[in-house]
Amino acid sequence: MSHDVIMPALGMAQDSGLLVSWFKQSGDAVAIGDALFEVETDKATMEVEAQHAGFLTQVAAKSGDEVPVGQVIAVIAASQDAAVPIASVAEEQPPQFAAKEDALPEGQSIIMPALGMTQDTGLLVNWLKQPGDAVSADEVLFEVETDKSTMEVTAGVDGFVAALLAAAGEDVPVGHDVAIISSAKPETLMQRTRGDVPTPAAAPSLPATQSPVAPPPGDLKRTEKRQLQPKSSRILASPKTRRLAYERGLDLQKLVEAGHVQPYHVSDLAALQNISADTPVSIAAPALRRLTAKISAVPFGEIMSFVSEKSSGPTAGAVISGLAAGAWASGGSDLIVAYRHFSTTQLFSNPHGIGLGKALPDQANVEAQLLINDLRQSAISSIENCSDGLPTLTILSQGDQFSFTFECGAGQISADAALSFLTEFAGRMEQPLRHLL
């Protein structure tokens, strides 16, 4: 019956021992208690004795080898017929590298793991193991850079790195193979980049053994720089307040806007309830500005009669939009006016706000900034809330007067500007000739 000779446990903190020398050779007879070999430990050199009698065979470590505790380094056989020798730890040839076109080595495929909801690829930052290295399941195998941070990915299986299939710096789609870990020490290794392989290697599916590891706390400094979203200013409120506000559909921000002092407690919810009841929930119906003006229609009427006798004279729309543009404080830029008369709308361009408006072709791809509703000849006598989003100037006739109604959203034009515009427009419509020339 044969017995293993192992590198014994040597002391509390030691995982391996340096085999200094053998006292017996392969084939020698040994008795119990004979010194077999010498080991160097942290503290001293010690002799290891034979625990059994027999003949020393299958010597698998030589002088100078660092042998892990527990590893079998020889066998004491009952008889002298030696069995098949096993490869010596240090006599192994260094493993060969396979050609890149060769078939992949046997083993467990390691993939680029899923990294986050919107990420399809990960940038492989660097490898922490090289082909041929032993690796255990919870050791870090490689690092990946994502949107937010750099993550460490563990091997997930014990074994040896048989192949690396992507190089540091390459982008790898989620689910694609990046490495192969074999259970036994591989004889041939492979190292490739993704550029070496024209087609992707594996279908993107996660094996159960592997999951990405969250960056350890020490990495926090590195990851913080990559935060994209800025911190929002927090509202201080008790957990119960937040919960009740959420349950009741109330927005604590309103308390902030209303000037309530933080932190908020449940007793503040009554006030919040009141604020929310006052303001209607709908987003539409912004505040409207509405200005009206009345002027004599006579001067404009005289000019238009004079102009209409000429065949190439300007249209009313051109005149009115030109006057409107002149009244609009557009800072010298073009004011596009939509002039609506009866049921047709004509766009006019009014560069620099000087002179007459220039009619634009129908297909012109411009947005009007001002709508002029010319209702002089209509039966409409007054309007209110009749703008559909654009600042709207409506011209109505009332006897020998014009009634102008200008409406716009509070957010579109300031109160001052609105006043100024209508005043100016009214003034120009009273003395059109002067302003057109």
Binding site: P8, A9, L10, G11, M12, T41
Partner: protein, 329 residues
């Protein structure tokens, strides 16, 4: 060795021999478990001190109690423990004496009266004394033996409890296994004066005996146990003995505190098993072949038990928070 009546007690003598061999085989296996990196944690070898545990425990009944130390496998085996359950406990397996929850240093075998090994040096002295108090109060004739080492004589607890044991005449025997070393330091560097005098200072009768002579130990133990049952306790014994291994299994390079020559000397001239074996054959109570057969048989038993324990299952994860409290009905 001078037993009173050799021929009548041959069964008992062979039993003593077997028990010492059992201890030695157990420790050899345990040591191998450690060296082959199969044992979690550390353990402390009793090899060399077999006669102390066996000599004393052979004088005790099953219902008598012992408390043990971190070097407790010897006491455990000597008090009747089973190999399989002991190995299972050392490996943290479910079938261990403590369901794997105590390990080597807290191994307890309650059904055989072993109140447990203790990882605190001197930590079980109070427990042993309390056990004796229970026996006396509840009208039982149990005797409690408190095993401890020479190192424990440095602990204050020892003096507190010896004082009370003496005041209340408790049936407890304090057995000091003086193996010459307190961890990595020689006893004469850690214990001033005389060890037995310490007990005598409390008026406790104290005895010295050669701890490697199982018959001498047993003889003395029998006398003192009988006297304890009559209410004459407590007593103190100092047993001179030797541990072959280091303080714990990882203490392999120990020449810096203990000479190899000294170890060799004890192995060759003071080995309790060899010497008792020689006595048995000299007295015609057994033969060399029979003794060797016994040793081989026990060695095989131990090997089988270890193999069993290595394959045995670990406790289920759900046991981790069991036995924190006794469930009150």
């Amino acid at each position: 060795m001078s037993p009173t009546n050799p021929k009548n007690n041959s069964d008992e003598y062979l039993r003593m021999f077997r028990q010492m061999v059992r201890i030695r085989c157990f420790e050899d296996q345990a040591n191998q478990l450690y060296l082959s990196a199969k044992m979690p944690g550390l353990t402390h070898m009793y090899s060399g001190e077999e006669a102390v545990a066996v000599g004393i425990c052979e004088a005790l009944k099953v219902t008598d109690k012992i408390t043990s130390t971190h070097r407790g496998h010897g006491h455990c085996v000597a008090k009747g423990a089973d190999f399989k359950q002991m190995f299972c406990e050392l490996l943290g397996k479910e079938e261990g004496y403590c369901r794997g929850k105590g390990g080597s240093m807290h191994i307890a075998d309650q059904s055989n009266g072993n109140l447990g090994a203790n990882a605190i040096v001197g930590g079980s002295m109070g427990i042993a004394t309390g056990s004796a108090l229970s026996a006396k109060r509840l009208g039982r004739d149990d005797v409690t033996v408190c095993f401890f080492g020479d190192g424990a004589t440095a602990q204050g607890l020892m003096y507190e409890v010896m004082n009370m044991a003496a005041l209340w005449t408790l049936p407890v025997i304090y057995a000091c296994e003086n193996n010459g070393y307190s961890e990595y330091t020689r006893t004469d560097e850690i214990a001033a004066g005389s060890i037995t005098a310490r007990a005598e200072a409390f008026g406790i009768e104290a005895f010295k005996v050669d701890g490697q002579d199982v018959l001498a130990v047993n003889d003395l133990a029998q006398k003192l146990v009988a006297r304890c049952r009559k209410g004459e306790g407590p007593f103190f014994i100092e047993l001179e003995t030797y541990r072959y291994h280091g303080h714990h299994v990882g203490d392999i390079n120990r020449e810096y505190y203990r000479a190899k020559d000294e170890e060799k000397q004890w192995h060759e001239t003071r080995d309790p098993i060899k010497n008792f074996g020689k006595w048995l054959t000299d007295e015609g109570l057994s033969t060399q072949e029979d003794l060797e057969a016994i040793q081989a048989e026990i060695k095989a038993d131990a090997a089988t038990a270890v193999a069993y324990a290595l394959e045995a299952k670990y406790p289920d994860a759900t046991e981790v928070d069991m036995h924190v409290f006794v469930e009150t009905a």
